[in-house]
């Protein structure tokens, strides 16, 4: 079974992380999927690729019935983020996908007939799921040209998409321990996948204004406590878009 970790339990909503599927084919990258449940309403953040659909659905129904899922969020258009959409489209009724406006015509290639597409404007926006407010923070060009992070001001969790991602073995812990030891698992990823120093610094500037207790990427491990500041400092100092020898 896919590993499920509760990240936050509040009076009105919970965050659950699904990751580290032991039956995942080794050739596909491991991904972190997030679920926020508030009352009888559920949102999935970056619900994952088609290969992980079945274990993901099986893990979800341990927490909530399928028909409570009314919202999906895709930080960007990559297949490991949202190629399961065609199957969710057959699974959900009255659901909405919140995703960058510029990827609508592309993401729909995964299959999106029943699910409504909510095109997120470049400047971002907020939505309410049950009684939880979620803010879509622009993260364009880190790495996708149309990209958002998700901030929950009550749980103080920032779902950062590919920012902070690390390529870890299947049995790696869910939380970053020693930050310096974590750096080698994410350095090349950020240098190669992130194309713009300007965009990166712009995102860091905005994120530093938020009160964050967990920085939760779509791959790898979650940053908590001082590791969040360490990561932002490290990322700020990192030259990105330079992984190809010139």
């Amino acid at each position: 079974m896919m590993k499920a970790t509760t990240l936050f339990e509040g009076s009105a909503h919970n965050w659950v992380l699904f990751a580290r599927d032991p039956d995942k084919p080794p050739s596909i990258i491991d991904t972190n999927q997030y679920m926020i449940v508030s009352g009888n309403r559920t949102i999935l953040l970056d619900p994952g690729g088609i290969e992980l659909f079945a274990p993901m659905l099986a893990a979800i129904v341990d927490y909530v019935p399928v028909d409570t899922i009314k919202d999906l969020f895709a930080s960007h258009q990559d297949p490991d983020i949202i190629s399961s959409l065609g199957l969710w489209d057959r699974t959900l009724s009255d659901a909405t996908l919140h995703a960058p406006w510029m990827w609508e015509g592309f993401i729909r290639h995964f299959g999106c007939q029943k699910i409504a597409y909510d095109p997120l404007p470049d400047e971002g926006k907020s939505i309410t799921v049950g009684s939880a407010e979620l803010v879509f923070i622009p993260a364009h060009y880190v790495h996708s040209s149309g990209n958002f992070s998700v901030y929950d001001p009550v749980a103080k969790i920032l779902m950062s998409g590919d920012i902070g991602a690390a390529l870890l073995p299947a049995d790696a812990p869910m939380f970053v321990g020693n930050f310096n030891e974590h750096i080698p698992t994410m350095k090349l990823f950020h240098q190669r996948w992130m194309p713009s120093n300007k965009a990166k610094n712009d995102w860091i500037r905005r994120v530093r204004e938020l009160d964050i207790e967990m920085l939760a990427p779509q791959h790898g491990a979650i940053y908590t406590g001082d590791n969040i500041g360490r990561f932002l400092d490290w990322f700020e100092a990192l030259e990105v878009g330079i992984a190809i020898p010139g």
């Binding site: 079974m1 084919p25 088609i50 290969e51 659909f53 079945a54 274990p55 993901m56 659905l57 099986a58 893990a59 129904v61 341990d62 927490y63 909530v64 019935p65 399928v66 028909d67 065609g86 199957l87 057959r90 699974t91």
Partner: protein
């Protein structure tokens, strides 16, 4: 990850049949051309070949009917391909839902997947019925072509008989024409028979 997916689907059958029948309209055009040649010879020969005229007309009509039916087969093959591909996609979706149901068998809300599986199952069976209807239509069109080819055999015999009892002046021309006509009919018969075999084999595999 995907298991128990059927190895054969009608979209490959439809494509195979389309490829096999690709040259049939050309052969039918050949029949039509030979029929026109026959009419032209009849016009030159006058009374000596008057009885050939209705046979040539029949051959021409037969050729046009075959061309029209092959057009219907091609249109039907597109419908089969489309329905069968959608059915295939639905079958894969059912595999995913079934796997989720099995993986989550001990999960608290696992039964909430059941309506999803039921709906997918219903969609799959509707699509399967749709494909089966198209396959039946395809089979019927092939039967129609076979019936026309049977009529063609009779036309060829009548043609030969008329040529044999007719005047000697244009016999050689007519014999050459009827040989070409027969050759085209035999080619179409072979292709239709191959198509039918593929269709039946595919039906047996899928239904069995």
């Amino acid at each position: 990850m995907q298991t128990d997916i059927r190895e054969e689907h009608f979209f490959t059958t439809a494509l195979d049949i389309t490829v096999i029948l690709k040259t049939v309209p050309e052969e039918a055009e050949r029949i039509s051309l030979e029929a026109m040649n026959a009419k032209s010879i009849v016009a030159r020969a006058g009374d000596a070949a008057r009885t050939i005229q209705p046979i040539a007309n029949e051959a021409d009509e037969l050729a046009r009917n075959i061309i029209a039916l092959v057009g219907k087969i091609q249109a039907n093959a597109i419908d089969i391909t489309r329905s069968s591909l959608t059915e295939f996609t639905e079958e894969i979706a059912m595999q995913h839902f079934g796997r989720a149901r099995a993986l989550g068998s001990k999960a608290q809300f696992v039964t909430s997947i059941d309506p999803v599986i039921l709906a997918a199952n219903m969609r799959f069976h509707e699509l399967h019925k749709d494909v089966a209807d198209h396959v039946r239509t395809l089979s019927r069109i092939l039967e129609e072509i076979e019936a026309i080819l049977l009529a063609a055999t009779i036309i060829i015999s009548k043609f030969r008989l008329e040529v044999a009892i007719g005047g000697a002046a244009y016999r050689q021309n007519f014999e050459t024409l009827v040989a070409k006509f027969e050759d085209a009919v035999n080619t179409i018969r072979g292709r239709t028979s191959d198509s039918r075999k593929i269709l039946e084999r595919s039906r047996r595999k899928i239904e069995g």
